[in-house]
Symmetry: C2
Subunit: 319 residues, 2 copies
Amino acid sequence: MPYLALTGGVGGAKLALGLSRLLSPDALRIVANTADDFVHLGLNISPDLDTVMYTLADISNKDLGWGLAEESWQFMEAMERLGGETWFRLGDRDLATHIYRSHWLAEGKQLDEITEDLCRKLGVRHSLFPMTNDRVSTRVNLKDGGQLSFQHYFVRDRCLPEVSGFEFAEIERAKASRPFLEALEEVTGAIIICPSNPFVSVAPLLQLPGVVERIRQSDIPVVAVSPIVGGQAIKGPAAKMMAELGMPRTALAVAAHYADCYGVRHQGGLFTHFVMDQQDIAQEAAVRQLGFKTRVTQTIMQTLEDRVELARQVLAFVD
Amino acid sequence: MPYLALTGGVGGAKLALGLSRLLSPDALRIVANTADDFVHLGLNISPDLDTVMYTLADISNKDLGWGLAEESWQFMEAMERLGGETWFRLGDRDLATHIYRSHWLAEGKQLDEITEDLCRKLGVRHSLFPMTNDRVSTRVNLKDGGQLSFQHYFVRDRCLPEVSGFEFAEIERAKASRPFLEALEEVTGAIIICPSNPFVSVAPLLQLPGVVERIRQSDIPVVAVSPIVGGQAIKGPAAKMMAELGMPRTALAVAAHYADCYGVRHQGGLFTHFVMDQQDIAQEAAVRQLGFKTRVTQTIMQTLEDRVELARQVLAFVD
């Protein structure tokens, strides 16, 4: 199994899709962040897993950028009439995923088994799994001293509050899922960190106990793709978070953050390669200075061809 | 509070609606059977409560005869793709009710509180409540020696298996809900047994510990409306059940069953009045022989006017 991709939601899912078009199911596995998972209206919701799953199944909603294609909102309308919470939009078709998952979790199945089952039913050929079957919950620390659960911050409050940091509750006690551990064991080509949010998507994946140690022991290349292009996040609050955390909003700062937190390989750390956009070519030398091998390319993925092309570049880079 | 109506689903809900058009919220309360309630796909479903609630709120689906008006089925379609159970049809709008209820039950609220809340949100002015907050489960004993849960019998197997009897699991330990007990305390006019299935809708309502005793002590008239007209049940399997249980499929047999199980008042039992359809006028004398006061009228409720007119007849009869 040459490649393992680590991903959050929308941005990472795009590269995962590109990779899946180039690599057979034998050659690629994908692990998704689950620290955004939460229970809402009694339903177990795994936003990142579902985004990647729907993307790989080619049933994602391209207009909305999240959720399912051909979605309808009758449930939400009825829930609104009942005065229930409607800030997290649950489509009628999407609900089947959450109810199915919640039902089987309540029956004692594990999230990785249920994810495998859902993927099979939806025609996803590549192996996609959660980073852990245990509950890990991202908490967003705010500048005003408060704390929000991730989805309250991300969806309900539309990332408006200023952040001061993040915690992943229960992560010390969480165990990487069996398929994640197996993938870490069996990967021979490279580990690909998709262009996901470094603070809330990539961090929990890497902070799960034992994950970084296993990767370092394996001596497999670890390539990260910058989610920041030209000072902006293509999707999501990464750039806004960087500003609030006192970091420059640059690809270089992402690389520096990764080097700070996890180290670069030739100094005993995790990372080996860094892919950044051609808009940020002026920062390439500085990223190299940090100890990364670098590749500058087109990283904005608007079309399917863009996704496949970036995947091709990443694979060529680490090979 | 002059009147208390006891009802199951569709048939009973029609008379409850008729009564609600004649009586103010101060003058009528309605208690529904909950022995058909079940957990499906992890959701707490109360079919009779919902049928009555939707009927009183004038949002019931008149084409289907169950569920909500303007319903859609995107959830079901998506669930089918996932290979989940689809024999119990859950509409997209209807799901809001079940998810809302399940969520609040899981949060520790009681079914009667949640029902009151749902009714308020949906604009139901009359007090509607469950017979109990405890779980009671109808089990259908089959002639072939097997047993089915009620919804498996009723919905999944479309009442095809031949029945030999019914059990209401846990009913001995169930407590009548607070609003049901209060209504039994405060009723001054009559208790109206709606034209619901005597075996699976009315029986659990009356077999709840203490209910029959309280009614007998109160000396309030108890009027039953026959669900059997001209040898047929207007809706549901009552007539088929009677045949399988070795009873004639007649209004008289319904009256005889009620007299057998609960007695007539002047012999120390429960029932005082019986309303039967004009098609069954030949049986009136025999019903009277059993000890009931009788009223023969048009009991088939096709239009709203029919529902109101039957309600008017029932009220005039017991006054």
